[in-house]
Symmetry: C2
Subunit: 229 residues, 2 copies
Amino acid sequence: MSTARERILAATEELLASKDALAISTRAICDRAKVGMPEIYRQFGDKQGLLTAVACIGFERFLANKRRNPMTDDPVADLRTAWDSHVAFALDNPHLYRLMFTPAPESQPRAVGEARALLLSALERCRAAGRLRTPLELAGQSILTANVGVCLMALSFPELYGAPEISRSVRDAVIGAVTGDEREDTRITDGIVLAQALVGTLTGTAPAGGDAIARLSQALQGSGPRGDE
Amino acid sequence: MSTARERILAATEELLASKDALAISTRAICDRAKVGMPEIYRQFGDKQGLLTAVACIGFERFLANKRRNPMTDDPVADLRTAWDSHVAFALDNPHLYRLMFTPAPESQPRAVGEARALLLSALERCRAAGRLRTPLELAGQSILTANVGVCLMALSFPELYGAPEISRSVRDAVIGAVTGDEREDTRITDGIVLAQALVGTLTGTAPAGGDAIARLSQALQGSGPRGDE
DNA sequence: TCGAAGGCGTTAGCAACGCTTTCTTAGCTG
DNA sequence: CAGCTAAGAAAGCGTTGCTAACGCCTTCGA
């Protein structure tokens, strides 16, 4: 048999799979872990302490998950993949996720900080690839906030949450705005690229193909600044 | 003296100004409302029933707030204003907001539905103005989810929440993506405008000022499609 | 004017909760 | 073997949400 502490943690995690943290009684935990009531308080001082420890373990699983995300040669696509795996984790472990991201007074700035660090390093890769048009810090906060926000919302209103569509929509909006990658509307940035090349040609300050005008004209076709559908 | 029901509701709202709903005991409510314990259960059946009633009142204030938002002739700007007033309400009434948007089993799809309806009508105005490039339904869900999500996140991690910057960032990203309005980077759309005029000039198919090239060159200055800041 | 009805206050108490105290036992270490 | 710490057993504390039983007093129709 394992140690008492491990049994308590395991029992709590198991109960957390079906009930909210607040609906779990310390007695139920003790029954399932086959320990006496005082054991919880000897080990964790507090019910909140126990929940914090469980949240910590959850964060470790969460971060391990995130670290497993492959690094492709498209850092922006990696951002989107990370977003999706985050959402999947939340939907798979609703009560645990709520426990992790809805602290009572204050609990784990450490683990959240680590998640932030992971995100920032992913963003740094975007920056290195010249695909970030927002201050790194703000970009990270925006993505993290939106990501957690979408998850909490999905857990609170599952019937209002329309499957992954809405997560994808917010994801592409935020990541797109931060990186400058327009997902569904790359024509705009293409337009800029071509316009820059064109100006370079016309002013004689940059090398550009002679067909710049034709390509620009074609690229701009139908892409107004405020498209009227 | 007012009726018992009103006093109970008022007392709960007052306590909710300083404590979380779960930290409020029914006895404290009764003390403050000068009623006996059974009164709560005669009136609301349940503590949850009382909290639901309070949440209802909160939604009414919330919706009244939203309805007070002026309708300017720029429906997209109105969307942004509504977003900001939503966030302000959440920050002003943290515990009430949490109560409203973190239901236990399920509570007010009615009030949330009304908020959604308000949002959809605002989006309909955008659509009428030709400033919506996303299905109405999905646009509404995306904005509402992101908005509530940012608020819940801000309440859970106030120290991590960097003032209104991040709300603005997510707001402009989501609303921008949904409407096609680029907020902070209007240079891009300006670039498109000028580029179109330029192409018109060069191909002789549109009237444009002779300084088009100069203006385009200036407008594009420093605005790369993948700016390396 | 009377009497039924219902809104409201009072007292007392239940079961469940988080948490504590006390005592005892088991197992390892020096 | 002595001494330490980890951990199981039992009992109980105070608070919580909630209920039962009773009685007052206003309202209102007959």
